[in-house]
Amino acid sequence: MARKASKKTAKKATKKSAKVAKKSVKKAPKKAVKKASKAAKAVKAVKKVAKKVVKAAKKIVTKKPAAKKVSAGGGFKDKSVKADGFTIRYAEAGKGAVLVSIHGAGGMRISPAHELLAKTYRVVVFEVPGFGTSPANERSATMPDLAATMNKAIAALGIKKFSLMGNSFGAKLVSWMAVQAPETLQSLLLIAPAAIRHDRPRVVANSLEEELKLFHAHPERIAPRPAPSRAILDKQQALVRRLIGPARDAALEGKLKEMPVPTLALFGTVDRVTPSDAAYLYREIIPNCHIGMVYDAAHAIDVDRPEAVSEIVADFIERQEKFLVTGQSGVIHP
């Protein structure tokens, strides 16, 4: 369906541009050559964008719907751990200091940023109970409950000190995890975070195409992956709606004000889901918080600009607030 729809839109857009081009030729015959070539260029540009969207949509929907066991991919190995009565799936790759990652409302995925970070760190990407193919989670009553479960899962793996990263909804979850057990954390990474938001209507995507546009500034960079089934999406959305809490969560913010962990919050400059106009709030509320803007990235920052994201995240994990002073050499020729 979505594939058809995006093809249709692309065709429509192309036709429209061609119409404009024809019209301009009729209207001003003297300038016809110039305008026609301009219009032709516009048609080409529209075609190019349409192609990109179609290609990206294709990548997702031409894959078979999610099988029971989804492979994490990218050299990540699928494993599971028991905590709080849940069997919690996680994927792991790499060696070194531990970076735990918690996904957003869309569910677990291994992003190109995870793969880049796994070259330096032991990256552990959790699937929160109630997401993906796990049974619906009706037991976690609140975000702090769910956070406690996730902290127990990490402890069950024998991980004592680690950096913690959360995307979007996952950023709210890791914020709760951080206030519950700050002593376990080396640093906290909030990626396109939904932890502290301006109280305004949520931007919603009504189709796969809309979702692509909403979440990605660069759909051409999306790696092929199986699309989750409707049932999984519905189950996840119900859980997120039940747990996410208010845009300005006084209980969380009150605790964040006391949370000493060095924190980096990253925002995409073209993110319409958790826009960068909330960034200053993180800096004002969290005592040791740095904020960063990732240029030309939408909500899926780590898919749009994985290299840019993983570089600053790794630098922050290594050096925390000292990351302000670059260690890169400016030498062109020795």
């Binding site: 302000l324 050499s329 030498v331 062109i332 020729h333």
Partner: protein, 366 residues
């Protein structure tokens, strides 16, 4: 001796202290506009009452100074200061585009008919964060940038630059400096390495954020190194920047400065961010005299201690004159770059008048 007036163009309202970069939550545009106007007025007055130089500096991300680009402010000064020299102390050249620096200083030299003093500084350690440059490479970048600027000022045919840190395919700047072959160049020489570099390259030097005994030691090192390189610096090649307040009586001067110290001070631009300062120190930015250099920047104290450490000249005309004579004996500086408490309104203006009319003429004699 020569008298210079330095104004940081300090933001004259409240702001968060002890952090860097300083958030702008409390920033008010009207206060910033007023701060600029006050500074321009003070420089205009300094020019009228007989100061030899007026000086501006480059600092970033803090209310300590509203001149992140001193060239822009100097551009405004070319229309206000008609007689005195305009000293850029300076451009922080390792963090800038050196060709842009060469062009801007040449513009200013042309606009003033050759009244520019070209300070070439490394900038404070924290300011390497400003344009995301590695402070470990500060000195090497400085040396190359300075050499490049001198080439840009003197070559008449387009040339390429194949440097270590800078690379250009064709350079030929317009306008060219009025002063031939170039404006006098000064650099900071608080550290021994800088003093040695200045001595090797026959450059003037300057001291700021220091005490007179520390400056005396560094100046002597510079003179000794110059002798090793076969020349003797003129006293005018040593600038000492020092806080000053002059009033009709000693008591009045002390009362004024105590009042100023109770208001927003916006100090510690290089040390406010301890995390940044310590990582900068670990890069080797301070050179071989690391702890002395850091100590110099962290040195604080109340008014009395700062006067005792030779960090402030204070009192009546006669008292301040005696302190300048002592300073000259101790440091051997030919230019004193007076930094005033700029927020005292009429009393600041009066101090500028006393310095320009009563003290600057006597300084010319020694």
């Amino acid at each position: 001796m020569k008298a210079a007036l330095f104004c940081t163009s300090r933001y004259m309202g409240p702001a968060k202290e002890g952090v860097w970069p300083v958030p702008t939550n409390d920033y008010e545009t009207a206060i910033a506009e007023h701060s600029y106007k006050t500074t321009l007025d003070q420089f205009r007055l300094a020019d009228e009452v007989g100061f030899d130089w007026v000086t501006v500096a480059e600092h970033h991300f803090a209310p300590f100074s509203l001149t992140p680009n001193p060239m822009v402010f100097a551009g405004a000064l070319t229309q206000v200061v008609k007689r005195a020299k305009i000293a850029l102390l300076g451009a922080s050249i390792p963090i800038l585009n050196p060709i842009r620096v060469a062009e801007e200083m040449a513009m200013l030299d042309t606009l003033t008919g050759g009244r520019i003093i070209a300070g070439m500084l490394r900038g404070t350690g924290n300011e390497y964060v400003t344009y995301n440059l590695n402070p470990a490479e500060s000195r090497a970048r400085f040396e190359e940038a300075l050499e490049l600027i001198r080439y840009a000022w003197t070559q008449r045919q387009p040339f390429a630059w194949q440097g270590r840190f800078f690379q250009y395919r064709s350079i030929c700047i317009w306008p060219r400096p009025v002063q031939d072959p170039m404006p006098p160049i000064y650099m900071s020489a608080s550290s021994p390495e800088s003093g040695e570099f200045a001595a090797r390259n026959k450059l003037g030097i300057g001291f700021a954020f220091t005490s007179s005994p520390q400056a005396a030691g560094a100046a002597e090192h510079y003179r000794q190194q110059a002798r090793v390189n076969g020349w003797d610096p003129h006293p005018d090649q040593i600038i000492f920047r020092i806080a000053v307040h002059v009033a009709d009586t000693d008591e009045q001067a002390h009362e004024d400065l105590e009042e100023a110290a109770r208001g927003p001070r916006h100090l510690g631009v290089s040390t406010a961010n301890r995390a940044v300062e310590s990582v900068v120190a670990d890069t080797g930015y301070y050179g071989r005299d690391r702890e002395a250099q850091r100590g110099r920047l962290f040195a604080r104290g109340d008014l009395r201690q700062r006067v005792a450490q030779g960090q402030i000249l204070i009192g009546s005309v006669e008292s301040v004159w005696q302190q300048i004579v002592e300073l000259k004996k101790l440091v051997g500086c030919g230019v004193v770059d007076f930094t005033l408490a700029t927020q005292l309104g009429e009393r600041t203006s009066h101090a500028i008048e006393l310095l320009g009319e009563k003290i600057a003429p006597r300084m010319k004699e020694i």
